[in-house]
Symmetry: D2
């Protein structure tokens, strides 16, 4: 590994930006936190003061610094693509939170800028770095379950996000299922070629009124012929529910949720265990560190990053296909999703359920 540490700036000082900055400052070997910026300068300064790095409100000041090797883009989705392009033009490697954008034209523009600049771009699909999912992927890739036949993903949030967030999220498929589409591709190591989705508004009528759904079941067909399902809900009363199971010709592998402790309490009424971890930042804490460590290590060594720009685009295609499937009430092939604007009003989506 090269001597010099990788100098990384963070753009965006919201919840995930603060987390990444903290992790970079203390827990990623070979990384150096170079600074943090946020359009809300006060938020950036609070982080900068605590971690002892420069802070500001303008991304360009970071991108203009010669000592900055790479940036983390942790802003809201609508600014991802233009920041990627700006960083590419400035010759900085980029780690960007998912999704790149909510439409393919914008994504393709950003990826073109990346390609033209020859920088590295990693997308923040952090669950790929979680020990449970990684073990499933390794079992599939290593042949431990033979040829994959059926995938089942369960992804349930503990509680719905705010309605303000729902309104700008792009809808359940682009905001939540996108992680599961990525996981489907990651676990089986192949492409999803067709989806069929049904969706409903069962959790909170206000979500429906905001034009979105909160419950969905998506059927997948993979290139190899394997099948799959994704179960999504915006609410699991018992906590964050994140599981995967793959059946193959030689067996199956399945994960369980992570709990804060292993203690089992037995009383007259039955046997009890504390609920699974509730908060995604706690559940996936290690994965956030490991994805940055992998990014830093890849950039320093010149190796390809583990989650590419193409990996950022593919789940968006599948999310758009799922949306269309709900609207049109039929299975939709991935190759039906083209350059044209694919996003109809989310109202239409929920009207279709």
């Amino acid at each position: 590994m090269p001597e010099a540490r990788l100098s990384v700036g963070v753009i965006g000082a919201g919840r995930i930006g603060r987390l990444h900055a903290e992790v970079l400052a203390h827990r990623v070997p070979g990384a150096l936190l170079a600074g943090i910026v946020d359009v809300a300068g006060a938020a950036a300064r609070e982080v900068g003061d605590r971690l002892g790095v420069p802070a500001g409100d303008d991304p360009d000041t970071l991108l203009a610094r010669a000592d900055v090797d790479a940036v983390l883009i942790c802003t809201s989705t609508d600014s991802h693509a233009s920041l990627i392009a700006a960083a590419a033009r400035a010759g900085k490697h980029v780690f960007c939170e998912k999704p790149i954008a909510l439409d393919l034209a914008t994504i393709d523009g950003a990826l073109a800028a990346v390609a033209a600049a020859g920088i590295q771009l990693q997308i923040g699909f952090n669950r790929r770095f979680d020990a449970n999912y990684r073990r499933v992927r390794d079992a599939v890739a290593g042949g431990e379950i033979g040829r994959p036949e059926i995938l089942h993903l369960i992804s349930r949030d503990p509680a719905p996000p705010s309605l303000a967030y729902v309104r700008v999220s792009g809808g359940l498929f682009l905001d939540m299922t996108i992680h599961d589409f990525d996981m489907a591709r990651f676990l089986l190591g192949e492409e999803v070629v067709e989806v069929f989705a049904v969706a409903a508004n069962l959790v909170d009528p206000a979500i429906g009124a905001a034009g979105d759904v909160d419950t969905a079941v998506t059927t997948l067909r993979f290139a190899s012929g394997a099948l799959g399902t994704i179960e999504n809900s915006r609410r699991a009363a018992y906590g964050y529910d994140q599981r995967a199971e793959v059946l193959g010709s030689l067996g199956a592998i399945a994960t369980a949720n992570n709990h804060p402790n292993s203690a089992v309490l037995s009383r007259a009424g039955g046997v009890h265990r504390d609920p699974p971890l509730h908060f995604f930042l706690e559940r996936y804490a290690e994965s956030y560190r490991d994805e940055l460590a992998a990014f830093v290590a890849a950039v320093r060594s010149g190796a390809p990053v583990p989650v590419s720009g193409a990996d950022g685009r593919a789940p968006v295609v599948l999310a758009l296909a799922a949306q269309r499937s709900v609207i049109e009430g039929r299975p939709v092939r991935a190759d039906e999703i083209g350059d044209e604007s694919n996003i109809r009003s989310i109202d239409t989506v929920s009207g279709g359920t």
Copy 2:
């Protein structure tokens, strides 16, 4: 409960008929095994000799006996409906193995005969009497998980049946998924109104050559708006895999497989447990006893049987809808399945995958 025991004859001395006869003879309070018949008279006589009851090869001899109160129909599917009708005409109560028939016209004829005779008819959906599924049903019915939102059923056989059986089985949906369609209705206590199914031939090419599929994922939409999926495979290398999970507004309930023992072996390579029970007769042994006990108790007391003729018809409708969904590549509503002959060649089904 009345003094007199219910005198029950068994029609069919195959695997399930022998099991039922044995259970009736020894383990069902209030029942008296009256005799057994099978077109293969030798098979019936072997059972009759062992259990000390008359045996023969003609169902009519059982149906003609004044001392026989009820019959169990354990023959191949194609004779179920006519035997139900004959028993109804003879005034005998009937317990019949599933399915009643593979088409609705035949089923409706049998049910009409039952109604005309005023006898009781129970269908052999034994899994309703299994302790695991019953606990899930009780949790749903008792409000322990609130309003149901997503059902997930996993139903995997340890190994495919013989090709001879596959050819006459009616296909995966009518032979295997039919149990899961019944379970979906039982667990949620409401009707499935629409299905979408994808299917594949992944386990054994010979099954595809025989015109059937061996792997399927079926999406369900319930009358209440709840969603569901059924995962079927003809092969699970580790044994018989039979699980259910229901997410509701207040929580979730999920079952695990039954194992022959609870021992956990920890060695350098990891932590190991013996595989789940492999054979359905062993896995569901108690349910076979309990369904007969429930039948005998209901008939003796005059109460309605717990699995009615209508409960036998509904899953056939859903299986036919699933077949059509695979063929036509679209979601199919249950109310699209009418009196017309719905069964196309299974070749067409597999051609559609």
Copy 3:
């Protein structure tokens, strides 16, 4: 296997006698229930009427019947030894509930009568036939965990027996731990050479007032040098708790309790499972059938029975040693327990705690 079924009479129509009679009548291949007797004739007649066999109040009538091959002794402990001897003199094989007696002289007298008559004697240590314990034994015997080093047995009743029972039970060690002493010998396949026991009266002061203890921890030293502990309590609020764990040079094997179903309920408060089976007759139902099947098969084939008279004696020696250990506050070797009367007043035992 010989053609003729083994004709077996049952002596004692209490809870366990009724169970055995029912099992013999219906569920043991090769067995024929010959009759049942009880000093309370009405209890015997109730069973006899139900199962269609002769009933009476005098064991001698059973022992005098030429058509009776074997008897099950299910009476109270104080009559076991004399009934064994009487059956031996009558040339009947014997299955006797544990313990043979509460003192060694009486046991040795019974075993001498058995030896003189050349009959077979099996002792009712039913847990040896339980699938969980059997799997542990097989792992040890088959070398799956290497050389055994530490055994841990947990044996907790759901609730204390009646005080009337406590007073005649012989005390915790002879009534309850005796099963665990047998299990220790069975699982490791070797003898316990020394015990050290501490005991207390923590559950119910009335048990202490009756001269007994209700909580005990017993340390074992095996002939091979392996160590062990037994945990006993007369009360586990959550149900019948019966577990074993063995650590060996290559790993460990451990069992869990059996539950009525596998369902797991997740709600806001946590993850919940129904408590373990509460009642020993339910928990060990299969073992009661299997021990009788093994007895009948052994006697019919002339093979040695699986739980011998010596297996009935050894745990009594260990229970007496544990009692003495509590009284004298020191480890006691099994070979210190001789022919002399070893049982001091249980008052002394509890006084010693």
Copy 4:
């Protein structure tokens, strides 16, 4: 909380000293790593260079620094007491790894110095900060299981330490069981008044030749009358085995081991899970951070530290009592262990087994 960060020096740059230094530098809010010293100066300098703090080979240089508020003592056991005393004289608060010393006179000398100086002393019983044990303690303290009756602790290392370490360790009870004695006091919140221990040399004859044992079972009697056992082995082929179970009048609470992931692999041979975490630094990683965070927070706020000097002394008394119990083959009360030198040659211990 006060503004100023607590400036902490580390004495000892071995495995645990390096870990603590790293944790202090990056992961303890309110702490400032002031420097590190080790008699092997090179080891200290390696750490100091990496973390950017001064390093040296002389503890006195740290103790003489006015800007140092507290020290962590991470040296070998034989220097703990004198370093505690030196730090106390210098007015520095102390966090010291366990045990304080292997004999009570030395411990009492160190504690007297601490009392005279009025500094705070925390002992490094890190397991008290582990989420599993803490949940058990909370259940007991919160009355969730009623009045405690039986404690069972399992503590098995994955593999024996080096013989060089065994020779200076003070023996199994002072080196390994000492953690469990602390845990017994912590979980039940009361004192152990009597121990009885049996021990053996089953894992490696070289350990016996070095005068130690590698397998032990210790029975505990608590002040309240509750009972307990501790199971120790220097080897568990499957990894680090660290579990606790407490039975109380209202129920029981039990922990399981921590695994690197939750994945369960089912194949024809059975159901498999990856072994538990193997290495104590990995298994207890969070507890090492949390104990330092608690130390720093207590010292900064002036609150009592959570693991006092008395908590460091008590388990040594119990370990000495266990040693004597093995040598003399009898239960030994804690109050029999006095000021006199209690440590006989470990040879004698192993000779006694």
